[in-house]
């Protein structure tokens, strides 16, 4: 009897498992409309304007956005593609090439050609990021732009002219020394500029300004031991030769986000910050008296800024390619981007040049003009697209070793260069192997 009960129970569990495994998905209402699954890496609280407006103006397509947490997005998207149930559209910020090389995206070339889609509406730094090998895989939706922020009040207190921010990195160094304040124990209370604080690496901007060519044209060779990059690192060495790295680290450790940000809390007088900061300052310290200027450069060189793109793409195996393309074209239109920019706070910059240069957009914020101008001279932080994460990990590691005086700029960069090159070689070899084994559509 016991045996029979055991068998029956085992069968029941097995059937239940089977039913669970093969249970059909919950079906959307059968109203003949196409439902686009749109996965966005975003912490959105409400639907973005380009979605609501598309849904309002398109009767037969409904876009259903789903926010993805930053930490999990790659795993979620890759798993969905692998299980052949991907979303119809993704909105991402990590390098397009990294996704394209994994065959995670659908090439858009045939659609671009068929519809004679005009790619010159985008800033060139952004459009070049959308390409991998011979194909275009995405459309840039937003970008960001960096400029030089300075605190006018702290300038005045230090006896500096608040209408004359530094134009060269040498001047930044000089101004910095005027802007330092310490407490009675010798701890920093205020600093002028810190090259290793902030979410953009000023050293790479300096290297670009000096003409650094980090990746060869064919994308196969990395060079970090070039003179411009070494020069940029030397600037940081020169900066830290005046201070104890431990004192600066203690000072930086006191900062956080929002009100606790170094510039917003008026503890750092000069920083390279992105276009979201005018809004953040309004929100967290509206009395902050600041100016925005071009990023400083070295004498005789033109300023360069950094930009990244948030892009839209169709994952491999997506079921509604045509409708997804329709939505992508809609979202990057001048008027849609303009209204979106007017409505949202903590702006992401439009990718569409026509929007960015539109007087209505420029008047949204008095510093927008500087950001737009700098976007024209921007380079992308996707320096080595195929091994983006490895590049930045090694680059930051090299910088850390240099400012801690463990290695010279050349030795630190040489070590980083070697590791990045090994990873790049392997990635290219693997990519060639996969392409030789499967036919790429």
């Amino acid at each position: 009897m016991k045996q029979i009960i055991k068998i029956v129970l085992s069968l029941a569990v097995l059937i239940a498992m089977g039913l669970f495994l093969f249970m059909p998905d919950s079906k959307p209402p059968n109203d003949g409309k196409i439902r686009l699954k749109y996965w966005m890496v975003s912490a959105m609280k409400e639907q973005p304007f380009h979605v609501t407006e598309f849904n309002r103006t398109h009767e037969n397509i409904i876009v259903e956005p789903t926010p993805l947490p930053w930490n999990e997005h790659e795993k979620k998207i890759l798993t969905s593609i692998l299980s052949e149930n991907p979303p119809d559209l993704v909105f991402l910020v990590t390098p397009v090439a990294k996704w394209a090389t994994r065959l995670a995206l659908t090439p858009l070339d045939d659609l671009i050609k068929r519809d004679s889609f005009d790619s010159t509406i985008f800033f060139s730094a952004l459009w070049s990021e959308m390409r991998f090998k011979d194909n275009i895989y995405a459309l840039p939706l937003y970008s960001n732009s960096y400029a030089f922020f300075f605190n006018k009040k702290l300038f005045r207190e230090a006896g500096l002219d608040p209408e004359n921010p530094p134009k060269t990195w040498d001047e930044v160094l000089e101004y910095s020394s005027w802007l330092i304040k310490k407490d009675e124990k010798g701890n920093f209370k205020q600093m002028g500029f810190i090259p290793t604080y902030g979410n953009v690496q000023t050293s790479i901007i300096m290297a670009w300004e000096l003409g650094a060519q980090i990746l060869s044209i064919d994308g196969a060779k990395v060079s970090l031991t070039n003179q411009p990059t070494i020069e940029a690192f030397n600037w940081a060495v020169n900066f830290y030769s005046q201070f104890n790295i431990k004192d600066v680290s203690t000072f930086i450790a006191g900062f956080g986000f929002a009100e606790q940000h170094g510039f917003i809390s008026e503890k750092i007088a000069m920083m390279v910050l992105d276009n979201s900061f005018p809004d953040q300052i309004k929100l967290y310290n509206k009395n902050l008296d600041y100016g925005v200027a071009e990023i400083p450069t070295f004498k005789g060189y033109a300023p360069v800024s950094s930009t990244g793109s948030w892009w839209l793409a169709i994952p491999r195996g997506a079921k509604n390619k045509e409708a997804a393309w329709e939505f992508m074209k809609f979202a990057v239109q001048k008027n849609i981007q303009l209204t979106e920019a007017e409505r949202q706070k903590a702006l992401l910059f439009p990718s569409n040049k026509l929007t960015a240069n539109n007087p209505a957009f420029l008047s949204l914020n008095e510093s927008n003009k500087i950001f737009v101008d700098l976007l024209e001279h921007s380079k992308t932080p996707t320096v080595v697209p195929l091994v983006h994460d490895v590049f930045w990990r090694e680059y930051m590691g090299a910088q850390e070793r240099v400012v801690h005086k463990i290695q010279s700029p050349f030795d630190a960069l040489k070590q980083a260069e070697k590791t990045i090159q090994i990873h790049l070689d392997e990635t290219i070899e693997y990519d060639n192997y996969v392409r030789s084994q499967v036919s790429i559509k």
Binding site: S10, V13, L14, M17, E74, K75, L78, I81, L82, R102, L103, A104, K246, S249, T250, F251, A253, G254, D389, V390, G397, E400, R401, H404, I406, T419, I422, H423, E426, E429, Y430, Y433, V434, Q437, V438
Partner: protein, 282 residues
Amino acid sequence: MMPWFIGFIIFGLYPMIMSIYYSLCRYDVLRIPQFIGFGNYEKLIFEDPYFWISISNTLVYTVLRVPLCIIGSLLLAVLVNNAVRGVKFFRTIYFIPSIVTGVVLSVVWLWMFNPQFGLINSFLAYMGIPGPLWLLDPNWSKPSMVLMSVWSIGGGRMLVFLAALQGVPKHLYEAVDIDGGGWWAKFKNITIPMLSPVIFLWSVLEIIFSLQVFVEAYIMTQGGPLNSTMFYNLYLYNKAFNDFEMGYASALAWLLLVISLIITVIQFRLSKRWVHYDGVTK
């Protein structure tokens, strides 16, 4: 048995076998694997500096942490084994911190270790001692994380020690009393030998746990500063889920198993010299 067996094959055995295969391949989940033989293992051992950095960090952490945790828990158990008024209250108080999860703990300690506003440095400053940079100083980052684990010495380990202590026959202590021995003689000659199987059990478990340290470094330092907290599992995670080098990460995982096995076998061999079962060394 059957449902368990099916579950084990699908979710346990199959992934394990596949991970052995993938450890011999280049594989990024989305594309077909490229078989490269022992290439990943060779690269790990002979070419990858981070592998050795992560091994050394993890071993230093283990060597610092395991004795501290075991001695701490044992001493605390001896303390709360005394039949004094309110001892149950203290046992509860000591146990409570251990129920906090790793992520919450890490966030709390991140603030405690803040060199400028942190509780620890504020206290040290009050005493006139300049505090270190803790997690921001490569020399202090690992000791800081070891210090964090003091938080949980009153947890499960202490309870097991307490239970073992209460199982030590009273007449053994009485024999020491008759011989004129004091508390140290009792602790050294009775308590430690009688508790040696439990101490051994915890040393095996704690070494394995320490080799797998991850959450603290993932939340608090991401391996920095200067790779001083780049522990083995954090490196493995970065390879698997940041770089999507699943083949390489699989090789790392299997090497960790081998390392853990070797250490455990050595421990078992050594245990014959000092672990007493029912008063007898086996």
